[in-house]
């Protein structure tokens, strides 16, 4: 599904990603772990298409398409979803309006008619249950005045609405208390299907108690330096990141 080969990316003059390789197939859950400043979030941004990161070498293909040929919105419509570490507040845009625009624009890209309003409302109701958000959600402005936990739940809710093929969740566990963490993780698990894939980027092993990965990658200095199964996360928790650095 997603194939990243020898990816190098800069911000300004500084090289952040230094030859990263990653293969994600349908039905898989991957975890990317690693210390601060090793380029985990940069990876998510480059896949999303953020302009301030300049790709200098390497390739990313998604379901056979060259990602660099696609705009940010086209990547989304192709089925890539990014869950942000710091979701942006958009005052004045209600979640219902935001999601309806997003759903229908993605449908337009795929050559489908807009979703009928009643169907959309039913879908909103159904999907917000996944992350235990209340009915009042629809009328609220996107992330405005949301608590840290609500913002992350809202990310997973949007993921549920957009039904992506690939979700990259960047530090979705940061700033969550244990209850919110459980809800967010359960949401991700409920959305898991044989034809989609999830990449979770995290600092801590604790998220992986809830979202069980098929693969764990350790990232350091702009590259993936070690790949294993879920036991690698436990080993890392035990030995610390210095173990990787040495």
């Amino acid at each position: 599904m997603l194939t990243i080969k020898n990816l190098h990316a800069n911000i300004g003059e500084k090289e952040i990603l230094k030859g990263l390789n990653l293969q994600v197939n349908a039905g898989e859950v991957h975890a990317i772990m690693g210390p601060n400043g090793t380029g985990k979030s940069t990876l998510a941004s480059v896949v999303a298409g953020r302009e301030k990161f300049i790709v200098t070498q390497g390739s990313i293909t998604f379901n056979g398409k060259n990602l660099f040929d696609l705009s940010v919105e086209e990547r989304a419509a192709e089925g890539i979803f990014i869950g942000f570490q710091y979701p942006v507040e958009i005052p004045g845009v209600s979640i219902a309006n935001f999601m309806r625009t997003a759903v229908n624009e993605q449908r337009r890209y795929r050559g489908l008619d807009p979703m009928p309003i009643f169907e959309f409302q039913a879908m909103m109701e159904e999907k917000q249950k996944i992350v235990e958000l209340t009915d009042k959600l629809a009328g609220r402005s996107v992330n405005e005045g949301f608590s840290g936990g609500e913002k992350k739940k809202n990310e997973i809710f949007q993921m549920a609405m957009l039904e992506p093929k690939l979700a990259i969740l960047d530090e979705t566990d940061s700033g969550l208390d244990i209850d919110a963490l459980r809800i967010v993780a359960n949401g991700v698990n409920k959305l898991k299907r044989p034809d989609n894939a999830t990449v979770v980027i995290t600092h801590y092993q604790r998220l992986l108690d809830y979202i069980v990965p098929d693969f764990v990658h350790i990232m350091y200095d702009g590259k993936i330096v070690k790949t294993g199964d879920k036991t690698l996360a436990l080993e890392l928790e035990d030995k610390g990141y210095d173990w990787i650095k040495s």
Partner: protein, 349 residues
């Protein structure tokens, strides 16, 4: 001649001026509700003493709640360029309330200068919602002068919308002549091409315990220009005054120009006053975030601009009017020409 202004679902009492002159037929057909008097100035003490029959006074007798809004339309269709002048006075009696929608509407492309003088007096415990819209053609100039006198516990909600016209001068002067007066003064301007808009607001807190809130927002495209001057004056004995002012602008091009001048003159020492002025571009992070959800850049920009503008429109209390404005703003932000040139949505003959 019959005009109807197409604000969908708005059930209003309609008063028509034709090129600034009172349409006698309109007033004859106008059956004012109980407690509402429309008095042409020549029949009464001079409000603005001219021969112009467009001058008149609206009086709301004490303790009258006027249920339906009053809609006043100045229809402009002169053949030659002319100065179109009209003036009116509103007196809302003690304990009474009124909603007034006032629009100046061009029916053709003749370059006019439209002068509107509005004088408002709010007696104690009265309230007025005053919505000032204009839909003049993009060659014409509008000079709009509004003066308000507010007595004890009176409440003013004033909205002014600027979407069309070449040069638009809007001056509002509000005096709190007694205690506990309360004012929300808001405005929205969406300008493009070489439109030029000037707001000058003067809010005098002459008495204690007054509250005022100014909110003016603007979006400027092409080489449009806007100027905002907001004076807030707090007298020495006007203690416990609360006065807020905010002017926010979005500039979409390098050529668009905004000047914003807050002036606060405060002589009392126990007050809560604040002002803010911003001039900026669309939030890049919000734009990127929207795009990662699959919303194309153009639509994402429109969505964010609409949200910016809606901050003002959401405070419109009359639902049909709010919906009308929401639709108008959406269309304007999508680049549609919404002047009366085609008369699609506006006044039809």
């Amino acid at each position: 001649m019959k005009f109807t202004c197409k604000i969908k679902n708005l059930d209003a009492y309609l008063l028509i001026l034709h090129n600034g002159v009172f349409d006698q037929k309109s007033i004859r057909h106008f059956a004012p509700p109980k407690g509402v008097k429309i008095i042409p100035c020549r029949d009464t003490r001079p409000c603005v003493s001219t021969e112009n029959t467009g001058n008149f006074r609206i009086e709301i007798t004490p303790n009258t709640i006027v249920e339906k809004p009053l809609q006043l339309i100045n229809v402009i269709d002169t053949v030659e360029p002319l100065d179109v002048v009209h003036a009116f006075e509103i007196v809302v009696g003690q304990g009474s309330s009124l909603s007034l929608i006032h629009c100046d509407e061009s029916m053709n492309n003749v370059k006019n200068t439209i002068q509107t003088n509005v004088s408002i007096e709010l007696k104690s415990h009265s309230s007025l919602q005053y919505y000032n819209l204009q839909n003049i053609n993009n060659h014409s100039t509008l000079n709009n002068q509004t003066e308000v006198k507010q007595h004890e516990h009176s409440r003013l909600i004033s909205h002014t919308y600027t979407l069309n016209g070449k040069i638009l001068n809007k001056h509002q002067h509000i005096d709190f002549t007694e205690e506990y007066a309360n004012s929300d003064v808001q405005g929205l301007y969406l300008l493009d091409k070489n439109q030029d808009c000037f707001h000058r607001i003067r809010l005098n807190h002459n008495q204690p315990n007054g509250r005022s809130n100014q909110l003016f927002k603007g979006i400027l495209d092409d080489s449009a220009r806007a100027h905002f001057e907001g004076y807030v004056f707090v007298e020495k004995h006007a203690q416990k005054t609360e006065a807020l002012q905010n002017n926010k602008n979005l500039l979409l091009t390098d050529k668009a120009n905004v000047q914003t001048h807050p002036f606060l003159e405060i002589y009392a020492d126990d007050v809560k006053c604040s002002h803010g002025a911003t001039i900026g571009q669309l939030d890049e992070d919000a734009l990127f975030y929207s795009r990662t959800r699959g919303i194309p850049e153009k639509q994402a920009k429109t969505l964010l601009m609409y949200a910016f503008a809606h901050d003002v429109v959401r405070n419109v209390h009359l639902e049909p009017l709010r919906e009308y404005l929401e639709n108008l703003i959406k269309r304007r932000l999508n680049g549609e020409n919404i002047t009366c040139e085609n008369c699609v949505f506006s006044c039809v003959r």
